[in-house]
């Protein structure tokens, strides 16, 4: 016993160091595990408050850019609306069926895009109906997925995160792939697993696929920048230039799928 105590006293600095280092590693592993309730995260009220104040101040510097984006979106919506009113009533029926989604406007108050695992902070939380697994998009395209929400804030896993992959497809072709990020540049993501039968051209639009309960089908992602066929595995590797400038995010929308519980229930039943 005496020897153990002597040992601890003698090597206290080293032991203390390894203890704290172990704690730090545990926290890091936990933070790198997708979909795990975090012990410490930026959606807590103290850091959330600071980020909110800071975002409220810096928002003024981005007003011009934000205005431009919003007016672009307005123009796009007007165009859509115009097309809708031109078409006959049958299309309107299908349109009303699609409104199983509702959109909640929100703002990104903290952004990161340089790390391998990037997270964003949203200025709305459970109080405003933001829940885990909701999709976050901006007017230009997808941004990420809500991972965790507290009362007033929500933590979003950015598409610029090496831990997630998103089902994506071509806008004008039926081929699917998964969109991942290789952490090289915040302006490009990679689309993998597209079969060799696909006919790809530079400039093709990539949108979200329908095989997801998170993203509605057809949300824009980016366009094909370059691609090559990996002969060994027979799949294309495609470099996608994102429509969104992930380095500068302001207004976004959270998408709520109303029938999600029903769909999840159905999936779970089929597993049994």
């Amino acid at each position: 016993m005496q020897q153990i105590i002597n040992f601890i006293i003698r090597y206290q600095t080293g032991l203390f160091f390894w203890l704290l280092f172990f704690v730090a590693i545990l926290l890091t592993i936990q933070a790198n595990t997708y979909h795990n309730a975090k012990f410490f995260s930026a959606s807590n009220s103290i850091s959330g408050w600071f980020y909110k104040k800071s975002a409220a101040t810096t928002a003024y510097f981005k007003l011009a850019e934000e205005n431009k984006i919003l007016s672009e979106e307005n123009a796009w919506l007007r165009e859509k609306f115009h097309h809708l009113t031109e078409k006959d009533s049958i299309d309107r029926v299908s349109f009303s069926q699609e409104s199983e989604y509702s959109f909640i406007p929100a703002r990104i108050i903290s952004n990161s895009y340089r790390k391998p695992s990037n997270y964003l902070l949203l200025n709305k939380g459970e109080k405003d109906g933001i829940e885990a697994d909701m999709a976050i998009i901006s007017s230009r395209g997808i941004v990420g997925i809500v991972e965790e929400s507290s009362k007033n804030y929500a933590r979003i896993i950015s598409i610029l995160n090496t831990n997630i992959s998103i089902n994506a497809s071509f806008q004008h072709a039926p081929h699917f792939g998964s969109l991942v990020w290789n952490s090289a540049s915040p302006y490009y993501a990679q689309l993998l697993d597209v079969p060799r039968s696909a006919n790809i051209q530079v400039g093709d639009s990539i949108v979200t696929g329908g095989n997801s309960l998170i993203f509605p089908q057809g949300i824009p992602i980016g366009e094909v920048n370059s691609f090559f066929l990996d002969e060994n595995i027979g799949y294309y590797q495609i470099e996608v230039k994102l429509f969104n400038d992930m380095t500068s995010l302001g207004s976004v929308y959270a998408i709520k799928l109303h029938s999600k519980e029903e769909a999840i229930e159905l999936l779970e039943n089929s597993d049994e």
């Binding site: 730090a24 926290l27 930026a42 807590n44 850091s47």
Partner: protein, 167 residues
């Protein structure tokens, strides 16, 4: 000013400066300075190892909470604080051993060695933990070198400013 008050203020000041300002400051689009390591550099030279490691760990953890990085910054600060006595001895030599070291009276070269070594250790641990995968070693090395240069220059500038004030 009371020493512990001074260090508490420095702790909070550097933390907020880091997470609210510097994390948004990207030189050439991707180089980010981690100035908060200045806190570890300027801890009292005769402070106990365990106390210094605890404070450094706490500061790192606070930065982690703000930037959602788990324990990456905490580990980096901890290693920097743990190796600090070694680095001090290496940079300042015999003065450190005899406890007669006055940081602001040392030459520029010695101070630069000390700052650069601490910053390098901190950044290397930081980016390795952040990548957390061996295949990203290129990311680790390039980011460490770029950020290291940026941070070291900033730290030296700020130390020079503090020094002017003290004279």
């Amino acid at each position: 000013m009371n020493s512990s008050l001074k260090h508490s203020l420095r702790f909070i000041g550097l933390l907020l400066l880091q997470v609210l300002v510097l994390d948004n400051l990207l030189l050439f689009g991707f180089v980010n300075p981690y100035l908060y390591v200045l806190f570890v550099i300027l801890l009292p030279l005769n402070m106990g190892k365990i106390q210094a490691m605890s404070l450094a760990f706490l500061l790192g953890l606070c930065v982690d909470i703000f930037s959602d990085t788990g324990g990456v910054h905490a580990a980096a600060c901890l290693v920097a604080a743990y190796l600090r006595p070694l680095v001090l001895r290496f940079s300042f030599g015999i003065n450190y051993d005899y406890q007669t070291l006055k940081f602001y009276q040392e030459g520029f070269k010695e101070r630069l060695t000390y700052v650069a070594l601490i910053v390098f250790v901190h950044h290397l641990v930081l980016f390795s933990m952040e990548a957390f995968q061996l295949k990203l070693w290129k990311f680790v090395l390039t980011n460490t070198l770029y950020s290291f240069t940026f941070t070291t220059v900033l730290v030296m500038l700020i130390i020079a400013l503090i020094e002017k004030e003290k004279k």
